[in-house]
């Protein structure tokens, strides 16, 4: 490993003045320190790197390999022996005129819509709740705990409960909308047709917004109170403070948070799987279940892997663009 003594451009001016300590020391000690210090970051990274290598990168390499194979049930016992498929699996997956390709494209678009809505609302609810509970008031601790509860409950049971609530005859949602409030003229199907999409979004938001709340709440603690006090002296009201101090200070946290939520939601398998089983209704046929069906149900792991690789490429692209854009904005801000 080569170590540069030159540093990257220090982000946000954090690096100024490093090395002041060593500079007051004799030359030989300083060189020794430089080497140690140069190696130190790598040492810090080593455990993380080794673990990621073992659990993610090596299996991933094989996963990608499999996507070029005809790994059907006839070969899973001896997957190395499966015949090569070349780009065959990919060709089927991207052939939007074929049954499999067009279903995949549909599922992909559904997932994009689902992800945008679910992440948007999760982030919104979490941020609003965190900002509104920033000041202390009576019952704040209780509220914080209540808000975190959906996150603590096991996914399986939570989704089951929602599916009970969305039942046609016996569900709470129809009871509330139809019998109590009289908003709908007749009960609706929530787990069939277009409503199933919104049912999925609602459950996903319910499960994930507490996490957004948690992160933003932690992020808010890092804002120095002096900033607020100074702006209050300048006559800024609370709304202005939120706009001018709170939101800009949350940028770093938000950048990570939105990406976490995005990837979670996009890859979420458990929620749609428990809600709909192996075959989701077409308007809510999100890609994770779709791929599960393409590989585990039909036992065609080669094709499932090819679809997964396509999805991986998409996610990498989105993340790259997202990071470039948000980092530039953060720097400009």
């Amino acid at each position: 490993m080569t170590v540069s003594l030159r540093r990257d451009a220090p982000p946000a001016g954090q690096d100024a003045g490093r090395g002041r300590g060593p500079s007051s020391q004799p030359c030989s000690v300083r060189i020794l320190n430089q080497i140690r210090k140069g190696g130190l970051p790598y040492l810090f990274l080593l455990p993380a790197l080794l673990l990621e290598l073992l659990i993610h990168f090596v299996p991933m390499f094989f996963g990608i390999l499999i996507s070029f194979k005809q790994l059907t049930l006839f070969f899973i016992r001896n997957w190395q022996g499966a015949p090569w498929a070349g780009l065959g699996n990919y060709r089927i997956a991207v052939d939007v005129n074929g049954a499999i390709g067009s279903a995949l494209l549909h599922s992909f678009l559904v997932t994009c819509g689902f992800t945008v809505l679910a992440v948007g609302f999760s982030w919104l609810f979490g941020t609003v709740a965190a900002i509104l509970t920033q000041d202390s008031f009576r019952g704040r601790a209780a509220l914080r705990t209540i808000f975190l509860t959906p996150f603590a409950l096991p996914v399986y049971a939570s989704v089951i409960i929602w599916s009970f609530m969305f039942q046609y005859n016996n569900g709470l949602v129809n009871d509330l909308l139809h019998n109590v409030l009289g908003i709908t003229s007749k009960p609706s199907f929530w787990l069939l047709g277009h409503n199933s999409f919104f049912a999925l979004v609602i459950i996903s938001v319910w499960r994930n917004w507490p996490f957004a709340f948690l992160c933003v709440m932690a992020g808010l603690q890092g804002i120095p109170r002096e900033l607020y006090e100074a702006s209050a002296i300048d006559g800024a009201g609370i709304w202005q403070q939120i706009r001018r101090i709170t939101m800009p200070s949350l940028r770093a946290v938000n950048q990570v948070l939105v990406l976490v939520l995005f990837l979670w939601t996009f890859n979420d398998f458990t929620t749609p799987y428990v809600l709909f089983g192996a075959s989701a209704p077409s308007p809510a046929d999100v890609i994770s279940v779709h791929i599960y069906q393409a590989s585990f149900i039909t036992w065609n792991f080669g094709e499932g892997s090819a679809m997964s690789v396509l999805m991986l490429i998409f996610l990498l692209l989105v993340t790259a663009v997202y990071l470039t854009v948000t980092s530039r904005r953060r720097k400009n801000a």
Binding site: S4, R7, D8, P11, Q14, A16, G17, R20, L40, P41, F44, L45, P47, A48, L51, E52, L54, I55, H56, F57, V58, P59, M60, G63, V128, T133, S136, L143, I146, T149, P154, V155, Y156, A157, I160, F164, M165, Q167, N170, P210, L214, C215, A218, G219, Q221, G222, Y228, E229, A232, I238, W239, V256, F269, T270, I291, Y292, S305, V309, M311, L312
Partner: protein, 287 residues
Amino acid sequence: MRRRHRGLNAPPLSFIWTRRIVLTALTIFALVPVYVMISSSLKPLQDVTGTFRWIPSPITLSPYHDIWYTVPLARYFMNSLIVSASAAALSVAVAIFAAYAVSRYGFRGKRIFTVAVLSTQMFPGILFALPLFLIFVSIGNATGIALYGSRGGLIITYLTFSLPFAIWMLSSYFESVPQALDEAALVDGCGPVRALFRVVIPSAMPGIVAVTIYAFMTAWGEVLFASVMTNNTTRTLAVGLADYSTQNNVYWNQIMAASLVVSVPVVAGFLLMQRYLVTGLTSGAVK
């Protein structure tokens, strides 16, 4: 006199009312399913899927008794606790060092490292599940360390699931700790590690707590890998709850009761953690 609100002035009425309305709405949204869960857990089985009633009429506590016998819930709970707590603790420990390196040092390959680690979060589980099982089995055959089916294997797997974001989130929390603080410590003669432990970690405590909760919950709720990588002695709750759904019957009321019972310690943990979530910069900034 404690002064907790941001400015010097009390917030205006418009803010207070917005707060009341919005927080009430969110409370209802968060709690209604929890309420349904509680009421379902108190119903006799034949009533659970029956017509919805806001107040269940025959109430029974027997599900809370039966949950321990239908399924070895206590064992599943212990497994989940051991696996999730170990994975979270190790993940945060590994991530703290990595995040410290990323946030405080410039070094060659930094960008590649962060991007590569982050990209692992995008790997669809389905894509590397089978290869991972194969690798664990071959490690087991070669070294005799049984990862496949053991809690150890699960812990390692889960810790890497939360690691990428733990590193990233922590480095952004670390970045928000003013550099001047740990520089002051370095000047005082602390080494980087001591500066990390004395200054950076205490200052970033809310972030660390949030990340710990994240790592814990990632492991707590994972289903796909647990379903294959556990046997009946190492089974975790997330998959074990499905055991209430049997060939002939699905014990809905027991599923709900069990979920509530196992969530109580988790919520209690959140409550305890809250203390650390709201202290932070203030306590960290002073020596």
